[in-house]
Amino acid sequence: MSSQDTRSLWADAFSRLVKDRWALISLLVVVTYALVALMATLGIGMPDWRSSLGIEYLAPSGEFWFGTDLFGRDVFAKVIHGTKIAMSVGLITSLIAIPIGVVIGALAGYFGGWVDDIISWFITTFSSIPNIMLLISITLIMGKGLLSVYLALGMTGWVGLARLIRGEVMKHKEREYVQAASALGGGHYRKLFVHILPNVTHLVIINTSLQFQTAIKSEVILSYLGLGVQGEPSWGTMIDDARMELARGVWWQLAGATLAMFIIVLAFNILGDALRDALDPKLKGK
Protein backbone atom coordinates (compact mmCIF):
# COMPACT_ATOMS: atom_id res chain seq x y z
CA MET A 1 0.00 0.00 0.00
CA SER A 2 1.30 3.40 -0.90
CA SER A 3 1.04 6.12 1.67
CA GLN A 4 -1.16 9.13 1.12
CA ASP A 5 1.79 11.37 0.30
CA THR A 6 2.54 9.48 -2.86
CA ARG A 7 -0.89 9.77 -4.43
CA SER A 8 -0.61 9.47 -8.19
CA LEU A 9 -1.36 12.36 -10.49
CA TRP A 10 -4.52 10.62 -11.64
CA ALA A 11 -5.83 10.12 -8.12
CA ASP A 12 -5.02 13.72 -7.46
CA ALA A 13 -6.90 14.87 -10.54
CA PHE A 14 -9.85 12.67 -9.65
CA SER A 15 -10.10 14.08 -6.16
CA ARG A 16 -9.97 17.60 -7.61
CA LEU A 17 -12.73 16.66 -10.02
CA VAL A 18 -15.17 15.24 -7.49
CA LYS A 19 -14.62 18.17 -5.14
CA ASP A 20 -16.28 20.34 -7.77
CA ARG A 21 -19.98 19.72 -7.09
CA TRP A 22 -21.13 20.59 -10.63
CA ALA A 23 -18.52 18.35 -12.17
CA LEU A 24 -19.60 15.48 -9.95
CA ILE A 25 -23.26 15.96 -10.92
CA SER A 26 -22.26 16.08 -14.60
CA LEU A 27 -20.25 12.89 -14.22
CA LEU A 28 -23.29 11.20 -12.66
CA VAL A 29 -25.48 12.42 -15.54
CA VAL A 30 -23.05 10.98 -18.09
CA VAL A 31 -22.89 7.67 -16.22
CA THR A 32 -26.71 7.54 -16.03
CA TYR A 33 -27.09 8.19 -19.77
CA ALA A 34 -24.48 5.54 -20.49
CA LEU A 35 -26.32 3.02 -18.30
CA VAL A 36 -29.67 3.83 -19.94
CA ALA A 37 -28.08 3.42 -23.36
CA LEU A 38 -26.47 0.15 -22.33
CA MET A 39 -29.71 -1.24 -20.91
CA ALA A 40 -31.63 -0.15 -24.01
CA THR A 41 -29.05 -1.91 -26.16
CA LEU A 42 -29.32 -5.10 -24.14
CA GLY A 43 -33.11 -4.73 -24.00
CA ILE A 44 -33.39 -4.75 -20.24
CA GLY A 45 -36.07 -2.83 -18.40
CA MET A 46 -36.56 -0.13 -21.00
CA PRO A 47 -39.94 0.74 -22.56
CA ASP A 48 -40.56 -0.43 -26.12
CA TRP A 49 -40.85 2.48 -28.56
CA ARG A 50 -42.40 0.31 -31.26
CA SER A 51 -45.63 -0.58 -29.51
CA SER A 52 -48.47 1.59 -30.67
CA LEU A 53 -51.07 2.45 -28.08
CA GLY A 54 -53.56 3.47 -30.73
CA ILE A 55 -54.17 6.98 -29.43
CA GLU A 56 -52.36 9.69 -31.36
CA TYR A 57 -50.93 12.88 -29.91
CA LEU A 58 -51.77 12.42 -26.24
CA ALA A 59 -50.43 15.31 -24.23
CA PRO A 60 -47.90 14.53 -21.48
CA SER A 61 -49.53 12.96 -18.42
CA GLY A 62 -48.69 10.79 -15.47
CA GLU A 63 -48.93 7.73 -17.67
CA PHE A 64 -47.03 9.09 -20.67
CA TRP A 65 -44.48 11.54 -19.35
CA PHE A 66 -43.70 12.98 -22.76
CA GLY A 67 -47.06 12.18 -24.42
CA THR A 68 -47.53 10.08 -27.55
CA ASP A 69 -46.71 10.64 -31.22
CA LEU A 70 -48.67 10.39 -34.47
CA PHE A 71 -48.84 6.60 -34.24
CA GLY A 72 -49.69 6.62 -30.57
CA ARG A 73 -46.21 5.55 -29.56
CA ASP A 74 -44.78 6.59 -26.22
CA VAL A 75 -42.51 9.61 -26.79
CA PHE A 76 -40.58 8.82 -23.61
CA ALA A 77 -39.69 5.41 -25.02
CA LYS A 78 -38.53 7.12 -28.20
CA VAL A 79 -36.39 9.51 -26.17
CA ILE A 80 -34.79 6.50 -24.47
CA HIS A 81 -34.09 4.89 -27.82
CA GLY A 82 -32.67 8.23 -29.00
CA THR A 83 -30.38 8.17 -25.96
CA LYS A 84 -29.04 4.83 -27.09
CA ILE A 85 -28.42 6.18 -30.60
CA ALA A 86 -26.79 9.39 -29.34
CA MET A 87 -24.47 7.63 -26.88
CA SER A 88 -23.50 5.04 -29.48
CA VAL A 89 -22.67 7.82 -31.93
CA GLY A 90 -20.54 9.55 -29.28
CA LEU A 91 -18.75 6.33 -28.32
CA ILE A 92 -18.09 4.90 -31.77
CA THR A 93 -17.00 8.19 -33.33
CA SER A 94 -14.63 8.72 -30.40
CA LEU A 95 -13.23 5.23 -30.90
CA ILE A 96 -12.56 6.09 -34.55
CA ALA A 97 -11.44 9.70 -34.26
CA ILE A 98 -9.26 9.57 -31.16
CA PRO A 99 -6.79 6.84 -32.20
CA ILE A 100 -6.41 8.54 -35.60
CA GLY A 101 -5.82 11.92 -33.98
CA VAL A 102 -3.33 10.56 -31.43
CA VAL A 103 -1.26 8.54 -33.90
CA ILE A 104 -1.17 11.20 -36.61
CA GLY A 105 -0.44 14.02 -34.18
CA ALA A 106 2.21 12.00 -32.29
CA LEU A 107 4.05 10.96 -35.46
CA ALA A 108 4.12 14.53 -36.78
CA GLY A 109 5.25 16.00 -33.49
CA TYR A 110 7.83 13.35 -32.71
CA PHE A 111 9.54 12.87 -36.05
CA GLY A 112 9.25 16.41 -37.41
CA GLY A 113 10.96 16.96 -40.77
CA TRP A 114 9.28 15.56 -43.85
CA VAL A 115 6.88 13.41 -41.80
CA ASP A 116 5.62 16.57 -40.15
CA ASP A 117 5.48 18.38 -43.50
CA ILE A 118 3.27 15.72 -45.03
CA ILE A 119 1.03 15.34 -42.01
CA SER A 120 0.69 19.10 -41.57
CA TRP A 121 -0.24 19.41 -45.22
CA PHE A 122 -2.86 16.72 -44.73
CA ILE A 123 -4.25 18.41 -41.62
CA THR A 124 -4.39 21.81 -43.35
CA THR A 125 -6.06 20.31 -46.39
CA PHE A 126 -8.57 18.42 -44.32
CA SER A 127 -9.51 21.37 -42.16
CA SER A 128 -9.86 23.62 -45.21
CA ILE A 129 -13.02 21.82 -46.22
CA PRO A 130 -15.85 23.03 -43.98
CA ASN A 131 -16.88 20.24 -41.64
CA ILE A 132 -20.53 20.34 -42.63
CA MET A 133 -19.62 19.91 -46.33
CA LEU A 134 -17.47 16.88 -45.47
CA LEU A 135 -20.16 15.37 -43.27
CA ILE A 136 -22.81 15.86 -45.94
CA SER A 137 -20.56 14.50 -48.69
CA ILE A 138 -19.49 11.42 -46.76
CA THR A 139 -23.01 10.49 -45.61
CA LEU A 140 -24.40 11.14 -49.09
CA ILE A 141 -21.82 8.88 -50.70
CA MET A 142 -21.76 6.12 -48.12
CA GLY A 143 -25.55 5.99 -48.18
CA LYS A 144 -27.94 7.29 -45.55
CA GLY A 145 -27.97 5.59 -42.20
CA LEU A 146 -26.35 5.24 -38.85
CA LEU A 147 -23.23 3.53 -40.20
CA SER A 148 -22.45 6.51 -42.42
CA VAL A 149 -22.98 8.86 -39.51
CA TYR A 150 -20.43 6.92 -37.43
CA LEU A 151 -17.93 6.96 -40.27
CA ALA A 152 -18.45 10.58 -41.28
CA LEU A 153 -18.16 11.92 -37.74
CA GLY A 154 -15.29 9.58 -36.91
CA MET A 155 -13.35 10.52 -40.00
CA THR A 156 -13.77 14.26 -39.47
CA GLY A 157 -13.39 14.41 -35.69
CA TRP A 158 -9.65 13.74 -35.38
CA VAL A 159 -8.26 17.00 -36.73
CA GLY A 160 -8.36 19.14 -33.58
CA LEU A 161 -6.86 16.42 -31.41
CA ALA A 162 -4.11 15.69 -33.94
CA ARG A 163 -3.09 19.37 -33.88
CA LEU A 164 -3.05 19.45 -30.07
CA ILE A 165 -1.06 16.22 -29.71
CA ARG A 166 1.42 17.31 -32.38
CA GLY A 167 2.21 20.54 -30.52
CA GLU A 168 2.42 18.84 -27.14
CA VAL A 169 4.63 15.97 -28.34
CA MET A 170 6.95 18.52 -29.96
CA LYS A 171 7.44 20.20 -26.59
CA HIS A 172 7.90 16.94 -24.71
CA LYS A 173 10.47 15.36 -26.99
CA GLU A 174 13.03 18.02 -25.98
CA ARG A 175 12.52 17.46 -22.25
CA GLU A 176 15.14 15.85 -20.01
CA TYR A 177 13.17 12.69 -19.28
CA VAL A 178 13.08 11.86 -22.98
CA GLN A 179 16.80 12.57 -23.27
CA ALA A 180 17.34 10.26 -20.30
CA ALA A 181 15.35 7.56 -22.06
CA SER A 182 17.57 8.05 -25.13
CA ALA A 183 20.69 7.83 -23.00
CA LEU A 184 19.44 4.54 -21.58
CA GLY A 185 19.13 3.23 -25.11
CA GLY A 186 15.39 3.67 -25.65
CA GLY A 187 14.38 3.59 -29.31
CA HIS A 188 11.86 5.82 -31.03
CA TYR A 189 8.99 3.48 -30.34
CA ARG A 190 9.81 3.27 -26.65
CA LYS A 191 10.35 7.00 -26.25
CA LEU A 192 7.15 7.94 -28.05
CA PHE A 193 4.74 5.34 -26.71
CA VAL A 194 6.13 4.53 -23.29
CA HIS A 195 7.48 7.91 -22.25
CA ILE A 196 5.84 10.77 -24.14
CA LEU A 197 2.28 9.59 -24.83
CA PRO A 198 1.35 8.91 -21.20
CA ASN A 199 2.22 12.56 -20.57
CA VAL A 200 -0.31 13.81 -23.08
CA THR A 201 -3.16 11.48 -22.08
CA HIS A 202 -4.95 14.31 -20.34
CA LEU A 203 -5.49 15.98 -23.73
CA VAL A 204 -7.11 12.79 -24.97
CA ILE A 205 -9.49 12.68 -22.03
CA ILE A 206 -10.50 16.32 -22.37
CA ASN A 207 -10.93 15.88 -26.10
CA THR A 208 -13.13 12.80 -25.68
CA SER A 209 -15.63 14.83 -23.75
CA LEU A 210 -15.62 17.40 -26.56
CA GLN A 211 -15.87 14.72 -29.25
CA PHE A 212 -18.89 13.17 -27.53
CA GLN A 213 -20.91 16.34 -27.47
CA THR A 214 -19.92 17.38 -30.99
CA ALA A 215 -20.96 13.95 -32.23
CA ILE A 216 -24.28 14.08 -30.41
CA LYS A 217 -25.07 17.54 -31.81
CA SER A 218 -24.00 16.57 -35.32
CA GLU A 219 -26.06 13.39 -35.28
CA VAL A 220 -29.13 15.50 -34.58
CA ILE A 221 -28.39 17.78 -37.54
CA LEU A 222 -27.60 14.91 -39.91
CA SER A 223 -30.70 12.98 -38.89
CA TYR A 224 -32.71 16.14 -39.25
CA LEU A 225 -31.36 16.53 -42.79
CA GLY A 226 -32.55 12.99 -43.47
CA LEU A 227 -29.01 11.64 -43.77
CA GLY A 228 -28.83 9.94 -40.42
CA VAL A 229 -30.79 7.25 -38.65
CA GLN A 230 -33.44 5.55 -40.79
CA GLY A 231 -36.51 3.72 -39.55
CA GLU A 232 -35.93 4.16 -35.82
CA PRO A 233 -36.27 7.19 -33.58
CA SER A 234 -33.35 9.43 -32.73
CA TRP A 235 -33.40 12.88 -31.20
CA GLY A 236 -32.78 14.32 -34.66
CA THR A 237 -35.66 12.52 -36.35
CA MET A 238 -37.94 13.43 -33.45
CA ILE A 239 -37.07 17.11 -33.89
CA ASP A 240 -37.68 16.67 -37.61
CA ASP A 241 -41.15 15.22 -36.88
CA ALA A 242 -41.85 18.21 -34.67
CA ARG A 243 -41.62 20.52 -37.69
CA MET A 244 -45.06 19.33 -38.80
CA GLU A 245 -46.44 18.95 -35.29
CA LEU A 246 -45.83 22.40 -33.82
CA ALA A 247 -48.54 24.11 -35.86
CA ARG A 248 -51.01 21.57 -34.41
CA GLY A 249 -49.90 22.48 -30.92
CA VAL A 250 -47.98 19.24 -30.41
CA TRP A 251 -44.82 20.41 -28.70
CA TRP A 252 -43.84 17.41 -26.59
CA GLN A 253 -41.82 15.51 -29.13
CA LEU A 254 -39.63 18.59 -29.69
CA ALA A 255 -39.46 19.25 -25.96
CA GLY A 256 -38.60 15.65 -25.07
CA ALA A 257 -35.79 15.27 -27.59
CA THR A 258 -34.40 18.76 -26.92
CA LEU A 259 -34.46 18.29 -23.16
CA ALA A 260 -32.76 14.90 -23.32
CA MET A 261 -30.05 16.31 -25.55
CA PHE A 262 -29.71 19.50 -23.53
CA ILE A 263 -29.00 17.63 -20.30
CA ILE A 264 -26.30 15.37 -21.71
CA VAL A 265 -24.55 18.03 -23.78
CA LEU A 266 -24.62 20.43 -20.83
CA ALA A 267 -23.15 17.70 -18.64
CA PHE A 268 -20.36 17.07 -21.16
CA ASN A 269 -19.69 20.79 -21.40
CA ILE A 270 -19.35 21.24 -17.64
CA LEU A 271 -17.42 18.00 -17.30
CA GLY A 272 -15.05 19.02 -20.09
CA ASP A 273 -14.26 22.33 -18.39
CA ALA A 274 -13.82 20.61 -15.03
CA LEU A 275 -11.59 17.92 -16.55
CA ARG A 276 -9.40 20.61 -18.03
CA ASP A 277 -9.06 22.30 -14.67
CA ALA A 278 -8.43 19.01 -12.86
CA LEU A 279 -5.97 17.50 -15.34
CA ASP A 280 -4.16 20.62 -16.37
CA PRO A 281 -3.69 22.60 -13.16
CA LYS A 282 -1.53 25.16 -14.96
CA LEU A 283 -4.65 26.44 -16.66
CA LYS A 284 -6.52 26.75 -13.41
CA GLY A 285 -8.24 30.08 -13.00
CA LYS A 286 -7.94 31.07 -16.61
Binding site: T124, I129, M133, K217, G226, L246, A257
Partner: protein, 311 residues
Protein backbone atom coordinates in the same frame (compact mmCIF):
# COMPACT_ATOMS: atom_id res chain seq x y z
CA UNK B 1 6.27 40.54 -45.69
CA UNK B 2 5.86 40.34 -49.49
CA UNK B 3 8.04 37.26 -49.41
CA UNK B 4 5.87 35.72 -46.75
CA UNK B 5 2.67 36.39 -48.71
CA UNK B 6 4.16 34.92 -51.86
CA UNK B 7 5.26 31.82 -49.96
CA UNK B 8 1.83 31.45 -48.41
CA UNK B 9 0.18 31.89 -51.80
CA UNK B 10 2.44 29.17 -53.17
CA UNK B 11 1.42 26.90 -50.31
CA UNK B 12 -2.10 27.35 -51.64
CA UNK B 13 -1.21 25.04 -54.51
CA UNK B 14 -0.53 21.84 -52.53
CA UNK B 15 -3.55 22.55 -50.33
CA UNK B 16 -5.88 23.06 -53.29
CA UNK B 17 -4.45 19.89 -54.86
CA UNK B 18 -5.17 18.12 -51.58
CA UNK B 19 -8.71 19.43 -51.31
CA UNK B 20 -9.26 18.37 -54.91
CA UNK B 21 -7.89 14.93 -54.06
CA UNK B 22 -10.24 14.45 -51.12
CA UNK B 23 -13.25 15.58 -53.16
CA UNK B 24 -12.16 13.46 -56.11
CA UNK B 25 -11.73 10.38 -53.93
CA UNK B 26 -15.14 10.90 -52.34
CA UNK B 27 -17.18 11.68 -55.44
CA UNK B 28 -15.33 10.01 -58.31
CA UNK B 29 -13.83 6.94 -56.66
CA UNK B 30 -15.91 5.99 -53.60
CA UNK B 31 -19.27 7.23 -54.87
CA UNK B 32 -19.25 4.91 -57.87
CA UNK B 33 -21.37 5.20 -60.95
CA UNK B 34 -24.06 7.90 -60.85
CA UNK B 35 -25.78 6.59 -63.99
CA UNK B 36 -28.43 4.43 -62.27
CA UNK B 37 -29.13 7.36 -59.97
CA UNK B 38 -29.70 9.77 -62.84
CA UNK B 39 -31.37 7.49 -65.38
CA UNK B 40 -33.32 5.16 -63.14
CA UNK B 41 -33.16 1.38 -63.08
CA UNK B 42 -34.43 0.77 -66.59
CA UNK B 43 -31.81 2.65 -68.58
CA UNK B 44 -30.36 0.91 -71.61
CA UNK B 45 -26.60 0.33 -71.74
CA UNK B 46 -26.54 2.79 -74.65
CA UNK B 47 -28.05 5.56 -72.50
CA UNK B 48 -25.67 4.80 -69.66
CA UNK B 49 -22.74 4.98 -72.03
CA UNK B 50 -23.85 8.32 -73.47
CA UNK B 51 -24.39 9.78 -70.03
CA UNK B 52 -20.97 8.68 -68.82
CA UNK B 53 -19.44 10.19 -71.94
CA UNK B 54 -21.30 13.44 -71.36
CA UNK B 55 -20.30 13.71 -67.70
CA UNK B 56 -16.68 12.92 -68.43
CA UNK B 57 -16.80 9.70 -66.43
CA UNK B 58 -15.30 7.64 -69.24
CA UNK B 59 -12.01 9.47 -68.90
CA UNK B 60 -9.20 7.79 -67.01
CA UNK B 61 -9.20 8.58 -63.29
CA UNK B 62 -6.20 10.90 -63.38
CA UNK B 63 -7.98 13.02 -65.98
CA UNK B 64 -11.06 13.17 -63.75
CA UNK B 65 -8.85 14.32 -60.89
CA UNK B 66 -7.34 16.92 -63.17
CA UNK B 67 -10.88 18.16 -63.98
CA UNK B 68 -11.61 18.63 -60.28
CA UNK B 69 -8.38 20.57 -59.75
CA UNK B 70 -8.91 22.67 -62.86
CA UNK B 71 -12.36 23.67 -61.67
CA UNK B 72 -10.80 25.03 -58.45
CA UNK B 73 -8.80 27.52 -60.49
CA UNK B 74 -11.21 28.33 -63.33
CA UNK B 75 -14.42 28.11 -61.26
CA UNK B 76 -15.93 26.29 -64.21
CA UNK B 77 -17.86 23.59 -62.38
CA UNK B 78 -20.01 22.48 -65.29
CA UNK B 79 -23.75 22.13 -65.02
CA UNK B 80 -26.00 20.93 -62.26
CA UNK B 81 -27.36 17.42 -62.78
CA UNK B 82 -30.72 18.42 -61.40
CA UNK B 83 -31.45 21.80 -62.95
CA UNK B 84 -29.03 21.78 -65.91
CA UNK B 85 -27.98 25.34 -64.95
CA UNK B 86 -24.37 26.52 -65.03
CA UNK B 87 -23.22 25.95 -61.44
CA UNK B 88 -21.16 29.12 -61.27
CA UNK B 89 -24.24 31.13 -62.33
CA UNK B 90 -26.32 29.41 -59.63
CA UNK B 91 -23.69 30.35 -57.07
CA UNK B 92 -23.56 33.97 -58.20
CA UNK B 93 -27.34 34.24 -57.89
CA UNK B 94 -27.40 32.45 -54.53
CA UNK B 95 -24.63 34.54 -52.99
CA UNK B 96 -26.72 37.69 -52.52
CA UNK B 97 -29.54 36.22 -50.41
CA UNK B 98 -26.98 34.36 -48.28
CA UNK B 99 -24.88 37.44 -47.70
CA UNK B 100 -27.88 39.65 -46.84
CA UNK B 101 -28.58 37.17 -44.07
CA UNK B 102 -25.13 36.30 -42.83
CA UNK B 103 -23.21 39.59 -43.00
CA UNK B 104 -25.46 41.72 -40.76
CA UNK B 105 -26.01 38.80 -38.41
CA UNK B 106 -22.30 38.04 -38.19
CA UNK B 107 -21.38 41.69 -37.64
CA UNK B 108 -23.96 42.17 -34.90
CA UNK B 109 -23.18 38.90 -33.14
CA UNK B 110 -19.45 39.70 -33.08
CA UNK B 111 -19.97 43.20 -31.67
CA UNK B 112 -22.49 42.04 -29.08
CA UNK B 113 -20.25 39.13 -28.03
CA UNK B 114 -17.18 41.31 -27.56
CA UNK B 115 -19.17 43.81 -25.52
CA UNK B 116 -20.67 41.05 -23.38
CA UNK B 117 -17.24 39.47 -22.92
CA UNK B 118 -15.87 42.81 -21.71
CA UNK B 119 -18.75 43.15 -19.25
CA UNK B 120 -18.18 39.61 -18.02
CA UNK B 121 -14.43 40.22 -17.70
CA UNK B 122 -15.11 43.44 -15.78
CA UNK B 123 -17.27 41.54 -13.26
CA UNK B 124 -15.06 38.41 -13.32
CA UNK B 125 -15.76 35.98 -10.51
CA UNK B 126 -18.92 37.84 -9.47
CA UNK B 127 -22.52 36.69 -9.83
CA UNK B 128 -23.12 38.26 -13.23
CA UNK B 129 -20.01 36.56 -14.64
CA UNK B 130 -21.11 33.15 -13.38
CA UNK B 131 -24.64 33.75 -14.64
CA UNK B 132 -23.62 34.75 -18.18
CA UNK B 133 -21.09 31.92 -18.34
CA UNK B 134 -23.78 29.45 -17.36
CA UNK B 135 -26.17 30.94 -19.94
CA UNK B 136 -23.47 30.51 -22.60
CA UNK B 137 -22.90 26.84 -21.81
CA UNK B 138 -26.64 26.19 -21.48
CA UNK B 139 -27.32 27.97 -24.77
CA UNK B 140 -24.66 25.91 -26.53
CA UNK B 141 -26.22 22.70 -25.25
CA UNK B 142 -29.50 23.16 -27.12
CA UNK B 143 -29.66 21.83 -30.67
CA UNK B 144 -29.54 24.54 -33.33
CA UNK B 145 -32.43 22.80 -35.08
CA UNK B 146 -34.54 23.14 -31.93
CA UNK B 147 -33.80 26.87 -31.72
CA UNK B 148 -34.82 27.41 -35.32
CA UNK B 149 -38.04 25.40 -34.99
CA UNK B 150 -39.06 27.10 -31.76
CA UNK B 151 -38.22 30.67 -32.83
CA UNK B 152 -39.96 30.27 -36.16
CA UNK B 153 -43.04 28.78 -34.51
CA UNK B 154 -43.22 31.26 -31.66
CA UNK B 155 -42.12 34.61 -33.10
CA UNK B 156 -43.28 34.21 -36.70
CA UNK B 157 -46.25 31.84 -36.51
CA UNK B 158 -47.69 32.46 -33.07
CA UNK B 159 -46.90 36.15 -32.51
CA UNK B 160 -46.70 37.10 -36.19
CA UNK B 161 -43.83 39.52 -35.64
CA UNK B 162 -41.81 38.24 -38.60
CA UNK B 163 -42.32 36.63 -41.98
CA UNK B 164 -42.59 32.86 -41.61
CA UNK B 165 -40.54 32.24 -44.74
CA UNK B 166 -39.70 33.58 -48.17
CA UNK B 167 -37.40 36.22 -49.59
CA UNK B 168 -37.33 39.48 -51.59
CA UNK B 169 -33.99 40.48 -53.10
CA UNK B 170 -34.67 44.26 -53.23
CA UNK B 171 -32.84 46.49 -50.80
CA UNK B 172 -35.04 47.36 -47.86
CA UNK B 173 -37.50 44.51 -48.51
CA UNK B 174 -35.18 41.67 -47.61
CA UNK B 175 -34.77 42.88 -44.04
CA UNK B 176 -38.21 41.67 -43.02
CA UNK B 177 -37.30 38.19 -44.29
CA UNK B 178 -33.79 37.91 -42.88
CA UNK B 179 -34.57 39.54 -39.51
CA UNK B 180 -35.70 36.41 -37.68
CA UNK B 181 -33.10 34.02 -39.13
CA UNK B 182 -30.53 36.73 -38.36
CA UNK B 183 -31.67 36.88 -34.75
CA UNK B 184 -31.45 33.10 -34.48
CA UNK B 185 -27.92 33.26 -35.93
CA UNK B 186 -26.97 35.80 -33.26
CA UNK B 187 -28.48 33.71 -30.46
CA UNK B 188 -26.64 30.62 -31.73
CA UNK B 189 -23.32 32.48 -31.92
CA UNK B 190 -23.46 34.24 -28.56
CA UNK B 191 -22.63 31.18 -26.44
CA UNK B 192 -19.39 30.07 -28.09
CA UNK B 193 -18.32 33.64 -28.95
CA UNK B 194 -18.72 35.16 -25.50
CA UNK B 195 -16.97 32.17 -23.93
CA UNK B 196 -14.05 32.46 -26.31
CA UNK B 197 -13.66 36.22 -26.04
CA UNK B 198 -13.90 36.04 -22.26
CA UNK B 199 -11.05 33.52 -22.09
CA UNK B 200 -8.95 35.65 -24.42
CA UNK B 201 -9.56 38.81 -22.40
CA UNK B 202 -8.89 37.08 -19.10
CA UNK B 203 -5.60 35.73 -20.50
CA UNK B 204 -4.48 39.32 -20.80
CA UNK B 205 -5.95 40.71 -17.63
CA UNK B 206 -3.36 39.16 -15.30
CA UNK B 207 -0.38 40.42 -17.31
CA UNK B 208 2.15 42.83 -15.84
CA UNK B 209 1.35 45.67 -18.19
CA UNK B 210 -2.24 45.65 -16.93
CA UNK B 211 -1.00 45.96 -13.36
CA UNK B 212 1.19 48.86 -14.46
CA UNK B 213 -1.75 50.56 -16.12
CA UNK B 214 -3.79 50.21 -12.94
CA UNK B 215 -0.87 51.35 -10.81
CA UNK B 216 -0.58 54.58 -12.68
CA UNK B 217 -4.20 55.24 -11.78
CA UNK B 218 -6.19 54.28 -14.90
CA UNK B 219 -9.79 53.28 -14.26
CA UNK B 220 -10.79 49.65 -14.87
CA UNK B 221 -12.91 50.51 -17.91
CA UNK B 222 -10.09 52.42 -19.55
CA UNK B 223 -7.70 49.56 -18.80
CA UNK B 224 -10.08 47.09 -20.41
CA UNK B 225 -10.80 49.14 -23.53
CA UNK B 226 -7.41 50.74 -24.18
CA UNK B 227 -4.98 48.08 -23.00
CA UNK B 228 -6.56 44.67 -22.63
CA UNK B 229 -8.77 44.73 -25.70
CA UNK B 230 -5.97 45.91 -27.96
CA UNK B 231 -3.71 43.13 -26.81
CA UNK B 232 -6.47 40.56 -27.08
CA UNK B 233 -7.01 41.58 -30.70
CA UNK B 234 -4.84 38.86 -32.26
CA UNK B 235 -6.83 35.86 -31.08
CA UNK B 236 -10.04 37.82 -31.66
CA UNK B 237 -9.05 38.58 -35.25
CA UNK B 238 -8.17 34.95 -35.94
CA UNK B 239 -11.44 33.79 -34.52
CA UNK B 240 -13.52 36.35 -36.41
CA UNK B 241 -11.83 36.36 -39.81
CA UNK B 242 -11.68 32.60 -40.08
CA UNK B 243 -15.48 32.49 -39.81
CA UNK B 244 -15.98 34.68 -42.88
CA UNK B 245 -15.69 31.84 -45.42
CA UNK B 246 -18.57 30.17 -43.66
CA UNK B 247 -20.69 33.27 -44.26
CA UNK B 248 -20.23 32.70 -47.96
CA UNK B 249 -21.32 29.11 -47.55
CA UNK B 250 -24.49 30.56 -46.08
CA UNK B 251 -26.50 29.29 -43.22
CA UNK B 252 -27.49 25.83 -44.34
CA UNK B 253 -30.23 25.12 -41.85
CA UNK B 254 -31.54 28.68 -41.50
CA UNK B 255 -31.91 29.11 -45.24
CA UNK B 256 -33.76 25.85 -45.66
CA UNK B 257 -36.17 26.60 -42.81
CA UNK B 258 -36.93 30.12 -43.97
CA UNK B 259 -36.93 29.31 -47.71
CA UNK B 260 -34.18 31.81 -48.45
CA UNK B 261 -32.83 30.95 -51.91
CA UNK B 262 -29.16 31.28 -50.91
CA UNK B 263 -26.11 29.08 -51.16
CA UNK B 264 -27.09 27.03 -48.13
CA UNK B 265 -30.40 26.30 -49.78
CA UNK B 266 -28.66 25.37 -53.04
CA UNK B 267 -26.40 22.97 -51.14
CA UNK B 268 -29.32 21.32 -49.39
CA UNK B 269 -31.32 20.96 -52.62
CA UNK B 270 -28.26 19.40 -54.22
CA UNK B 271 -28.01 17.08 -51.26
CA UNK B 272 -31.62 15.95 -51.62
CA UNK B 273 -31.30 15.31 -55.34
CA UNK B 274 -27.79 13.76 -55.12
CA UNK B 275 -26.54 16.56 -57.35
CA UNK B 276 -22.82 15.74 -57.02
CA UNK B 277 -21.34 18.56 -59.17
CA UNK B 278 -23.06 21.24 -57.08
CA UNK B 279 -21.85 19.75 -53.79
CA UNK B 280 -18.36 19.36 -55.24
CA UNK B 281 -18.40 23.00 -56.33
CA UNK B 282 -19.57 24.22 -52.91
CA UNK B 283 -16.90 22.16 -51.16
CA UNK B 284 -14.14 23.43 -53.47
CA UNK B 285 -15.26 27.07 -53.25
CA UNK B 286 -15.65 27.10 -49.48
CA UNK B 287 -12.23 25.47 -49.05
CA UNK B 288 -10.54 28.05 -51.25
CA UNK B 289 -12.28 30.83 -49.34
CA UNK B 290 -11.08 29.28 -46.10
CA UNK B 291 -7.47 29.12 -47.29
CA UNK B 292 -7.49 32.71 -48.54
CA UNK B 293 -9.02 34.02 -45.34
CA UNK B 294 -6.52 32.21 -43.14
CA UNK B 295 -3.81 34.03 -45.12
CA UNK B 296 -5.68 37.29 -44.57
CA UNK B 297 -5.72 36.63 -40.80
CA UNK B 298 -1.95 36.35 -40.77
CA UNK B 299 -1.60 39.62 -42.61
CA UNK B 300 -4.01 41.34 -40.25
CA UNK B 301 -1.83 40.27 -37.32
CA UNK B 302 0.83 42.72 -38.42
CA UNK B 303 -1.78 45.47 -38.50
CA UNK B 304 -3.11 44.63 -35.05
CA UNK B 305 0.29 44.08 -33.48
CA UNK B 306 3.34 45.76 -35.05
CA UNK B 307 5.58 43.41 -33.05
CA UNK B 308 4.54 40.53 -35.30
CA UNK B 309 6.90 40.19 -38.24
CA UNK B 310 5.96 37.73 -40.93
CA UNK B 311 8.97 35.91 -42.26
Amino acid sequence: MTNYIIRRLLYLIPVVLGVGLIIFILFNVVAGDPAPLLLGKHATPQQVHELREQLGLNKPLYMQYFDVVRSSFTFDFGRSWATRQEIFEMIKIGAWPSLTLTIPAFFLSTVISILLALVVAFYRGKGIDLFIRFLCIAGMSISSVAYILFFQYFFAYKLGWFEISGYEPQFPDFFSYVALPGIIWIVLSLGPDVRFFRTVILDEIYQDYVRTARAKGLGEIKVLLKHVLRNAMIPIITYVVIQIPFLILGALLLESFFSIPGLGGITLNALNSSDFPVIKAMAVLSSIAYILFSLLTDILYTVADPRVKLK
